[in-house]
Symmetry: C2
């Protein structure tokens, strides 16, 4: 999703204390942390999540290969949420000091990071609309469409199938629903032949139909490709 050239990404990556391998279900950052590294997902999935006082959880983003986890730590004092892996992952740890150095030297890098941030904003606006104004059924369908489009854009969709390493509880927590209800919704998506979802893999036989049903418009994910590198 980040609109970085491969070259730029290589630069960033090479800066890190080489990429770390992280197992599944590990917190990379916790609420309250004041991190000194940026994190870039190289392989695997992660999520951004918020825990409320009553214990409930809201997932506010899924982080796929190529996504930065936490650019906002450049300006915000502390993490007001946590980030955790969903699968075994490869994560680049990039010292913030290095980023500040580099962005001072390479204006194009700043711009590229800014643009990655702007694309992320588009995703977040779509989530707000999804949570605010769609039924559980369309809401779930819309999420599947988004993940399909994003996975496709990083080359991880084959034959309309891709890895979807989420439990129903996690899907529920990203859609503002309960696991019980998302279960019934998923069954309906299955019974209407909109998805085949089993063992962490999903197939969307007719993405155009699912896009139409959920009101998904993929254009917000596609930045102008004004490459800088």
């Amino acid at each position: 999703m980040a609109d970085l050239s491969d070259k730029q990404r290589d630069v960033l990556q090479s800066l890190g204390d080489f990429a770390q391998t992280v197992s599944a279900d590990e917190d990379i950052l916790r609420q309250g942390d004041r991190p000194d590294h940026l994190h870039l997902v190289l392989e695997g999935w992660a999520m951004r999540y918020h825990i409320l006082p009553n214990g409930s959880r809201q997932i506010s983003a899924y982080l796929l290969p190529g996504d930065f986890c936490d650019l906002h730590v450049m300006v915000l004092q502390r993490m007001d949420h946590s980030i955790a892996t969903l699968t075994p992952a490869k994560i680049a740890y990039i010292p913030i000091g290095k980023i500040k150095e580099l962005t001072a030297q390479l204006p194009e890098l700043t711009q590229a990071l800014w643009w990655a941030t702007l694309v992320d904003e588009g995703v977040m606006r779509a989530w707000i609309v999804n949570l605010g104004r769609r039924t559980a059924f369309k809401r779930a369908a819309h999420l599947m469409c988004e993940l399909y489009a994003r996975m496709k854009s990083v080359g991880l969709v084959t034959n309309e199938e891709f890895a979807l390493p989420l439990t129903q509880a996690e899907i529920a927590d990203s859609l503002g629903l309960t696991p019980v209800h998302i279960n019934r919704v998923i069954q309906r998506l299955r019974s209407e032949n909109l998805i085949v979802f089993d063992r962490q893999h999903i197939t969307i036989p007719n993405i155009a139909r699912l896009n139409a049903i959920s009101g998904f418009d993929p254009s917000y994910l596609h930045p102008e490709h004004v490459r800088l590198g």
Copy 2:
């Protein structure tokens, strides 16, 4: 909200085909537009809103003095939503070409705009949590807390009172609720002496209490003040 120095803002402002005065309830940008200006709110309120195929509306942001309306047009092809004034407003129209020129010359400006974007993201994450995991009552309370904090940060709160130029229908459309229900929620907020809301003005007699009730934590609105100018 934008983390720009006054000097930087002045520069931007001076660039515009001088500030335009726009009356209330006017679209500044419409879904589908491919704008050639950036818009910066100088005075008044605006909103970002999305219309769904079934006609329902979701408001995804309120834009207060100092906020950019549409930085994302730097990377996205077309507006996937609309922006409209809520009050008579003064808006700076800044040609995108100028911005591209300037950011090429002034790296600090790029960084400042990026940081403004990162702060906006924090607001959006808070909305996602709000929509996904809070009851209507806390959701409304949380919105009031956010607007109080943001208005305060631009010096528009006096004696715990500020202009809140929203109809109940607009509040409903930003919280994913119906006007009927938000009306009952507001009455409860009133009856518990949490707000006094009348004629486009609101007073929050005990902001600490409202923050606590809604789970509002203002820290995400306060960037590190690393000024560049």
